[in-house]
Amino acid sequence: MYGDLMKSMLAEYGAVTLKGIRHFIPDKEPRKYLYDLVLDYPNRGGKGFRPGLCIAACKAYGGTLQQVLYAAVTLELLHNAFLIHDDIEDESLSRRNRPTMHQYTSTAIAVNVGDAMQALGLFPLLKHKKILGPALSLKVFEEVQHMVEVSAEGQAIELGWRQDNICDLKDEDYLRMILKKTCWYTCIHPIRIGAIIGSNGKVKPELFNRLGYFMGTAFQIQDDLLNLLAEEKKYGKEIGGDIVEGKRTLMLIRLLQLCSKSEKAMIGHHLSIPIKERNAQTATDILRLMHRYDCLDYSKNISKYMAGAALKEFYTIFSRLPDSKDKSFLESIILYMINRDY
């Protein structure tokens, strides 16, 4: 029931945001290696999670779609710009069932498209002045500035772990990295921005930090689990790709904490060699070890604790607001995370 509501509203808000994105792509040259490519990732049909959260939070606080649409467009444009750069940094091969942009063009072209999307993502924010007035527009701009800054910091932490082949990580390190790399830009800021706009700047954005953090962590752990458990066609990326890429997921961190010295040496060696030279068989062996040491169930539990805590935060914050479809939609996302069975 909540799954249907979640999916239909994500699709609705995703479609309206995509329409907005198309509006902001300049209709001029160079098309082939820039503006046509800008639309590639958004057109592949992502979940539309960030604009969905932002629009729903705004409407739950009494705002309108017209007021929040520009912010939703910015979030989705910046998200897709991050994805293009992320795919290059992770040397990923596929994204949403198609080759990653740098695979079918070149790294140089994909970097440039990502850069352009970041610049284009700022333009809708300038339009806010007319709709929201200067003070509120500045507030939203500050949110976006912080979002981009911390996301880059989070990405730097994880890339640093890979660069230095760090294998002794604690759960707390993971929670910090994921807060910075994912949670701010996937949940915390989309909800904060939506609520700021919807309440006309009256609500304190800090109120949503824990809710967004718990939701974002549950979301990321579940996404990482899907990378190991889902069907490739449904998931849209190569299964087990995270193990090949050496991504420091909670499952891998847990495995490195529990496995024997020889197993740790084997994993350490796998992570130390260049991605292209990594062996698929070794990745399969690591996945088997993750199962043997219950790392997947451990991570599933943590994601459920987080989703449960998010639900508590949600009720604390949103129960004072009148019932609405958007409020139910936000609740449905958390319930979906809690009851997810992969």
Binding site: V150, E172, L175, E206, Y305, M306, A309
Partner: protein, 233 residues
């Protein structure tokens, strides 16, 4: 009855299975794990937010002495206003100087045979401030411009009452004076006082696109003048 007995037996075994599962889940341990993880997460969040605030304060402080500025915000505003006025004056002075230079060049060409000494230069005319709309306005829309007036004389209060004038565009196109509204008007300023005046220009729907300008002169002192400049698209 055998049916009931069987049912009771099934019920017992189901209950036992549930109990086993409950035991296996180890609820106390689960709660304690959840609490540990969430508490660790909340600590991380608080630490990161605190670190972010500190870093942001440091960035703010290194370029501008914010505390110093905050001590007297009025002084800051006055400085900004003064800088803007000076910048406008500089532009106007340079335009005037260039116009004078071209004028003297053409005089030289016309009187190149004359050996007469040049006449003493008149005092440079006072620069007329140009008030321009921040962006082009569409025909049928209303443009709003803001003018800051100040009385920097030591004399008695002054009363400024600008006479509205039509804005002239290309060819015969004009925006009539009655389409212009100035608020407040007149403006009374004591010595050293400043006031902001709003100028609303309702652009007719039939206005031809182009640049429109008009000179506004104070009815009480013709030395107080300003040019309203509007770009209609």
């Amino acid at each position: 009855m055998p049916f009931n007995k069987n049912k009771t037996g099934e019920s017992d075994s189901r209950k036992k299975a549930k109990d086993d599962l409950f035991e296996k889940l180890d609820p106390n341990n689960m709660m304690s794990n959840a609490q540990r993880v969430l508490s660790s997460a909340v600590n991380v969040l608080e630490e990161e937010i605190a670190a972010g605030i500190l870093a942001a304060k440091k960035i703010e402080g290194e370029i501008i002495d914010v505390e110093d500025l905050r001590e007297d915000p009025q002084d800051l505003m006055n400085r900004i206003r003064r800088d803007i006025h000076e910048a406008v004056d500089l532009i106007m002075d340079s335009v005037t100087a260039m116009a004078r230079h071209f004028g003297s060049l053409s005089d030289t060409v016309l009187n190149k045979k004359s050996e007469e000494k040049p006449a003493p230069q008149q005092d440079s005319p006072q620069a007329i401030p140009v008030i321009t709309a921040s962006k082009p306005v569409k025909a049928g829309d209303t443009a709003v411009l803001y003018v800051t007036l100040s009385n920097d004389r030591q004399a008695d209060p002054v009363i400024i009452a600008f006479r509205k004038a039509a804005l002239c565009g290309k060819g015969k196109s004009v925006i009539a004076a009655n389409a212009i509204n100035m608020m407040p008007s007149p403006v009374r300023l004591s010595s050293g006082e400043e006031a902001e005046m709003t100028v609303q220009v309702k652009v007719p729907k039939t206005a031809v696109p182009g640049v429109y300008s008009g000179l506004f002169v104070d009815a009480n002192d013709s030395g107080n003048r300003l040019i309203i400049h509007l770009d209609v698209n």
